[in-house]
């Protein structure tokens, strides 16, 4: 996996050190029982064992030091790799822009946070894999070297162990499903009740709602208890095996001791080797971590595979009128052609309203106009320059956007309005807010413009007006309003429109709308139908057409 390999390369020294240290400590773990056994034999025979005792102490000391360094290296390597992968993925996601958003916020966060850290643990897990494998294999070999019969006894009993462990995995998976199902039911009930908070508050039925949401709780507890019981049975079965293997090996070892083939020290060592050999579970766990890490890296790699739009080197002609041209523009979304060879010119300084049924491609057109997306065919030009030829800064400075559901960013309300590539002059936020009819409600907030954004509850209409203020605060030659006044009442919308015409009379405006009153104020209406431009004319000219009127059906009735 490129993600993991890249992270590992950046920390190659540490990763290699981890592998070497791991093998070293596995070796020490294998030598210690033998040394201990030998020292014990010397002591039991009444011979001086000072050197062997010292050797044991040395091994124990080095083991502890190695383990400490290993822990530290693992932690540091993983932390560095996590940060590196997250930084890379975040930058890539931002560069890909709205194109990456199709995955959904929750999914992206999981990939950037959880999956990134899982993937980052992989170099360390992989580096210690040889050591994890060396301990059990070495244990079996050491057992065989101590006495072949001991290895035979162990190898005969071991397959049983594997069978039991597998049985446990299956048994626990079954009852987990039932548990998660009930948990999901409680979560659904709770989310529904949260959505009805105002009704519940008004009716004073909070306690009743809590009881209703918690209704399935006894069932959850019953499933939960079953899980523990199943786990208990499985653990008990597994817990029998390792000690029984040990006793069996010791029994055979005892017989060999009585025959004079083994010493008490060998027997002590054998007991320890059985334990090391049964550590095969560690290998499985470590392998599992590597496999999980690879899967996680794959999920991060999906984000890194999102195509990033390239920007050009051209600058827009200074003082251009802001003429927007779409030439043969085709856009495909979800396999369907939403715009089909569309030609449209918005003359500099004019205002064009784009109307059409839901799904007619209005928002796609709005996105193409400022290069939030690229067309699948055709060209979009601003003052004669194809958008992909422009520099990123040049393009973003020239085109402003306001959306139906703007996402507000920045810490305070002021930051939210001035949000952009560079700081704006003081009072810019207030002026823009006044034009967007947002100044009034911002002043009602506890700390006005300095109020923290996440402390201020906003209605859909207020959020829209802050989004408009943000667009107004960054003047450019083209302003795209994608249904950006849909939640405003008509009076407020009218005032916003008036401010827009008054403050920026020369700005080209492209707006999509569902409202007849908004379309009526535009110079020209572009009527989109089945991916084509059905008509391009003033609202009053189109109004007699019943099909045109049906576009605004019911809404203003």
């Amino acid at each position: 996996m490129a993600v993991i390999a890249d992270a590992a390369r950046r920390d190659a020294g540490r990763v290699v050190a981890l592998g070497v240290l791991g093998l070293g400590s596995a070796g020490l773990a294998l030598v210690l029982p033998a040394a201990l056994g030998h020292a014990l034999d010397l002591l039991l025979r009444g011979e001086p064992a000072g050197r062997w005792t010292a050797l044991c102490a040395l091994i124990v000391g080095v083991q502890a030091a190695t383990a400490a360094v290993e822990d530290l290296l693992t932690g540091v390597t993983t932390a560095r790799a996590t940060a590196h992968i997250r930084r890379t993925a975040v930058r890539h996601m931002l560069a890909a822009g709205p194109r990456a958003a199709h995955r959904g916020t929750g999914d992206l966060v999981t990939r950037l946070v959880g999956n990134a850290s899982d993937a980052a643990g992989t170099p360390a897990s992989a580096a210690s894999l040889p050591a994890a494998l060396a301990a059990p294999v070495g244990g079996i070999v050491a057992l065989g070297l101590t006495d072949p019969w001991l290895a035979v006894v162990f190898l005969a009993g071991a397959p049983l162990l594997t069978l039991l462990v597998r049985h446990f995995a299956r048994a626990s998976a079954d009852c987990v499903t039932g548990y998660q199902h009930v948990q999901g039911r409680i979560a659904t009930l709770l989310v529904e009740a949260l959505g009805g908070a105002r009704t519940i508050a008004a009716a004073g039925t909070k306690e009743r709602e809590a009881a209703r949401v918690l209704g399935p709780l006894p069932e959850l507890a019953a499933h939960g208890r079953t899980m523990w019981h199943v786990q208990g049975r499985a653990t008990a079965q597994a817990a029998v095996l390792v000690p029984l293997l040990q006793v069996a090996v010791l029994a055979v070892g005892g017989i060999r001791l009585a025959q004079g083939a083994l010493s008490p020290g060998d027997l002590l060592a054998a007991g320890r080797y059985v334990l090391l050999a049964t550590g095969i579970g560690v290998v499985v766990g470590q392998l599992g971590a590597v496999v999980r890490g690879r899967a996680a890296a794959g999920r991060v790699a999906d984000v890194l595979a999102e195509p990033v739009p390239a920007y050009g080197q051209r600058q827009l002609p200074p003082d251009g009128p802001g003429t927007l041209e779409l030439r043969g523009v085709t856009a495909v979304r979800g396999g369907e052609t939403v715009l089909d060879g569309l030609d449209l010119t918005v003359p500099g300084g004019s205002c064009v309203a784009v109307v059409g049924r839901s799904g007619a491609g209005k928002s796609v057109l709005a996105a193409l106009a400022g290069r939030l997306a690229d067309p699948d065919a055709g060209t979009v030009l601003l003052d004669g320059c194809p958008l992909p030829d422009l520099t990123e800064t040049g393009l973003r400075d020239a085109v402003g956007y306001a959306f139906e559901r703007p996402v507000l960013l920045g810490d305070t309300i002021e930051d939210t309005i001035t949000f952009g590539p560079r700081p704006l002059p003081p009072r810019a936020a207030e002026e823009a807010a006044r034009a967007a009819e947002a100044d009034g409600f911002v002043r009602l907030l506890p700390a006005g413009y300095a109020t923290a954004r996440d402390r201020a509850p906003f209605s859909g209409g207020e959020v829209q007006r802050l989004g408009l203020a943000r667009a107004f605060a960054h003047p450019g030659r083209l302003l795209v309003l994608d249904d950006a006044t849909s939640s405003l009442d008509t009076v407020t919308e009218l005032r916003v429109a008036q401010a827009l015409f008054r403050d920026h009379p020369h700005r080209t405006r492209l707006l999509t709308t569902h409202r007849a009153s908004t379309a009526a104020r535009a110079d020209t209406v572009a009527w989109l139908d089945s991916g084509h431009l059905r008509a391009l004319a003033p609202h009053a000219t189109l109004w007699p057409d019943p099909e045109y009127r049906a576009l605004f059906g019911g809404e203003d009735a």
Partner: protein
Amino acid sequence: MRKFSSRKGALGATRRPGAAAGHQVDAVPRLGPAGAVEEPSVEGKAASRPRRADAPAASASRPLRLRDALRGQARVVGVLLAWSVLEAGQTFLLGYALARAMDDGFLRGRQGTGLWWLGLAAVGVPVGAYGTGRVFRGVAALVEPLRDRLVRRVVRRGLGDAVRGGGSGAARPADSAVVSRLTHQVEIARDAFGGLVMVLRSFVFTAAGALAGMIALAPVLLLVVLPPLAAGVGLFVAALRPLARRQDRFLSADEAVAEECGELAAGLRDITACGAREPMAARADVRIEAAQRAARSLARFGVVRTAALAIGGQLPLVLLLLTAPWLLSSHRVTPGALLGAFAYLTQSLQPALQNLLHTLGAAGTRLGVILARLTAPEPPEAPELPEPPAPPAVTATEPGLALQLRRLTFAYGPGAEPVLRDLDLGVAQGEHLAVVGPSGTGKSTLAGLVAGLLRPAAGEVRRNGEVVLVPQEAYVFRGTVAENVGYLRPEAGPDDVLAAVAAVGADALVAALGGPEGAVDPAELSAGERQLLALARTYAARGRIVVLDEATCHLDAAAEARAERAFAARPATTLLVVAHRISSARRADRTLVLDGPRTVCAPHDTLLAASPLYRDLTAAWSPAPAG
């Protein structure tokens, strides 16, 4: 125009400090704005009453600690410990039988005796394992109640936060955060607590079995083994608190990264459109760096664990070797006993200690942190939002009025400009009043004040009857039609339900759902269908003062008209409609035009002459094109 005026009043002088901040207001008569002694307002009474039904939950809202989970569980803990004795017995036997098998059997060439002792140890194994199996039942009896408590807290807390401030959304937690708490964090706590109980108990009983075994073999062995073991465990226990702090910082830093990434991911379109890619990447870098520092600091602390394991688990081995000549020569210890002691150390104590340190270090500290978070008493943010006051009491109004607002003033924060200022309004019994005005002039705030969801900063609301509020976002829950429609009047029979359904025009919908006993799945219904059910529920309710706060915005104009007429014709009903369409105003007896200082209340024809805003509104909302 009946009893209506609007003045700019000097608020600061009369508003009681803290009243807006949701502090308890005492019930002593107080000076009104005009200087006259007033009856305590409805809100004052409500605030001074003992807290509502959620009082037990509130009193239990201090952070939950680990020992709370064990309190009152003496019997369960007893059973758990009793079964654990079997495990201790197994540990005891493994070392003791080995020692006896050596001393009495194999070392003397008596294989039969040796095998007999080892056979005894083998018999002990399934017995001990049976105990382990039973221990899990005890763990279940400990862990599941804790999980139940956590789920209850998360649910109550989520609902409480959502309802606080009148459910306006100010303190409303994000759905995803609540779901994550409910499914993810509660599960971490559950697994961690279960693991902790198992490992802690296992260590104690393994250590007890091993130490008992050493006493049985030769008590002097304890002198060698116990001090380093105690020192190792002691060192780690001492380090637990700083470790927990680091763990807490690590989790917080990681959450901050997740939060930042969530903002970025949700705002990709807007970040691109604003050209703010670089500053946002730099912001994310800061959080990512902080998380890295926290992770490294946590990793550095892992050294303590290694040291504790070396001292408690490995040092006794070395000490035993060093003292072995003395132990053996003075015949305090037999060769078999020495072998048994080594076996206890390497096969039982060391693995148990390693398990303990690992679990305590990871799961234990994490559990403490998550428990503290899940059960934190009150959100530190939004302190100015009051608890929702009690359902408003019925109070005397002037004769003939259903609703009376007197110098009503409301602001969303102590420093904020009031949304409503000195509003006076009387609504007659049976009257049908519409409320219109531009966004942000306080239409929904007024609805919330009338329904008692918000507490006025000054002035009062008098209600001569129970108020039912229907908000824009209709609440429909999983259940039957009858449960949903009868929500505000549980004693309603099927006939009442059907009558209400028919009155508001939801009969076709209910028929499609399968009648009153038909199942309702909110996710399957459109927004308009949910609003119809909420309207039927309101129609069936006892309350006689009905407030529709844009409650029909997802219905078409005809359906909206039918529903509004149904409420206007409902017996003894006073109707207040916060209008979504101007047509609502045309149907009302009077219309309140909220427009700051130019607020007026009058019938349609009067308003056309008196209110320029009203003229604008009616013109702007008329279907003919303006241009």
